[in-house]
Symmetry: C2
Subunit: 347 residues, 2 copies
């Protein structure tokens, strides 16, 4: 790790982060669920962070790159620096959760355009990261800072831990199992639509789903800790794409009941029609809910909700390898990744 | 991890990397030195990579962000995609080496401008990464891909392992110890000067020092494995800055002998004068050599060279906390980070 801005004296984001991390009091909100944590021997301030992995645990690591103008916009009130910090961390926490791992550490690399150096942007961005990190006891242990001649970019790297051999991948589903999703679907994509459409009828709730996704960390950790799922993925691209990943990696197929999909209740307060709501839920992406498969026996042991977030059965795993079918009004059609086609009224 | 370009079908860099990684035959060139490696349970292709850390080893992790137009240029033949891939990985390998760790895994997040999507750029960039990774048996286990509306950006994350409790930080130096550097100094900065000056008198060797730095992985691993150093850092910012980091973290001072600095021998073939050569060696940066401190007893056990790279004693640790002094022609002056001032002839 090096901070190429330090030498020039313009600012030293990572150094400021370091001081605050040292001063921070750990958050123990989730200590009842997860009491294990690898030791941090050295955080920000050396050539690299130094960890002592806890015996009996595997580690997961994931990186998510967000680029201004592509993955988010800072103009026209699309998001705030604080919400962007939240989202940058949230998407990586979601990836860790999607392995059944508890997130422990984060490295943030930020590329900062000149216009954002001196203002409050980075402070507020960091506060957004920090607030979410505190919820799960995640420590910021490194990263890098550079200028950019283009827009703001952030690469968010999260390391999580999961009890040895308990990680859940996309590859464990078997025919006959049931398919579940946490929370609700379509809200983030509806929020994005509102932003793209100039927010004439913006719902604050749906905008928040887009701007401040809540990773399902507790759900992921519980599924792996208690052995309640056979496969697990997070819904970042949309159910139609992400379920296909599970089918391909597991060598199975799936059948999804349209009527059972847990549409975001806020969609009902908008002028989004039934077809469009279904499309948003299937193809919209960025809900960052978890999708998992479970045997009947596992399903019977699922808690009604975790941290206030319920789950819904949306379909079943089939032996029809690589095929996802959507059943609506008693008729089944092939569902392609990101390719939900509007049903005609008469079909 | 998600590949936001996959959906659009434009390209899928990480997926291509995945296929090649699966097909790759591990390189065992260094197996005589390092036989330990954490297990990779799942690489590219799930929500996160999954590792099983090897018992008895600590892990280091580091991130380095390189931004086009700031950290490198692609125009005017400054570098090639292949050399850029090499350097992106090299800088992070160097950070791992600077903890005494052997690099094992890498995640690469790349932001790619539209103009570079379709050509050979990413292929060649990856080949550069891959060739260096092969030298040390590093596996590419994840990352992310996005478009950018600006230039090319890459965040290179490296995970390394070091025998438990053997990691070397910046904080272990004690007064009376000796200071050493590996290899030679000033070459990378001289290469940069040539690029900036239009390469009228470019030395291929100095350009290579700038474009394709060689991380001192074997040296770092040996120093920690054999317990031959008390502190360790890599020379990324320049000796004057990096030695100050060691002094601050260790609560010591240092005295450096100008005459003992191992100037890059290629500097003698240029029109760079003695003052300028000294300045490049002290402040130039990007040599990615290692600087370490060792007791007399440790120093006596140092091998003459490691992998063809020798070391040089450049000074000693003093009790003058936070002060680095440069001795030249029998006169000592205070050396500030990045702030070497030309000596006047009569001083």
């Amino acid at each position: 790790m090096s901070d190429k801005l330090t030498g020039g004296g313009e600012f030293d984001f990572i150094e400021r982060v370091r001081r605050r991390e040292l001063a921070r009091v750990p958050d123990n909100r989730h200590s009842s669920l997860i009491t294990h944590h690898s030791s941090l021997l050295k955080g920000i301030g050396d050539d690299a962070a130094l960890l002592r992995p806890r015996a009996g645990f595997d580690l997961v690591i994931t990186a998510d790159l967000l680029v201004e103008g592509v993955d988010f916009r800072l103009d026209k009130g699309w998001t705030t620096p604080r919400d962007l910090g939240h989202k940058a961390l949230a998407v990586s926490l979601s990836d860790a959760a999607a392995m059944g791992a508890w997130p422990c550490f984060c490295l943030l690399s930020v590329g900062v355009p000149r216009a954002l150096w001196r203002g409050r942007f980075l402070e507020e961005f960091y506060e957004g990261v920090r607030a979410l990190a505190d919820v799960y006891g995640v420590r910021i242990i490194g990263g890098d800072t550079s200028r950019t001649t283009g827009g703001f970019v952030v690469d968010s790297v999260v390391i999580g831990e999961v009890r040895r051999g308990r990680a859940l991948t996309r590859g464990g589903a078997a025919a006959g199992e049931q398919i579940f999703v946490t929370g609700s679907l379509g809200g983030a994509a509806a929020g994005l639509k509102m932003l793209e459409g100039g927010r004439a009828r913006a719902s604050r709730g749906l905008l928040a789903r887009q701007r401040r996704p809540e990773p399902r960390v507790e759900w992921g950790a519980l599924l792996s800790e208690k052995g309640l799922a056979t496969s697990l993925i997070d819904l970042s691209d949309g159910l139609s794409s992400d379920l296909m990943h599970v089918c391909r990696e597991s060598g199975v197929g799936a059948r999804v009941e349209a009527a059972s999909l847990p549409l975001d209740p806020l969609l009902a307060q908008t002028n989004v029609g039934a077809d469009e709501a279904l499309r948003l839920a299937l193809d919209g992406g960025e809900d960052f809910e978890l999708l998992f498969t479970a045997s009947t026996r596992q399903a019977a042991r699922l808690p009604r909700e975790v941290g206030g977030v319920p789950f819904t059965r949306v379909g079943e795993v089939t032996a029809e390898r690589g095929k996802v079918r959507l059943v609506r009004d008693g008729r089944a059609s092939l569902l392609k990744p990101g390719g939900f086609e509007h049903f005609r009224r008469d079909s």
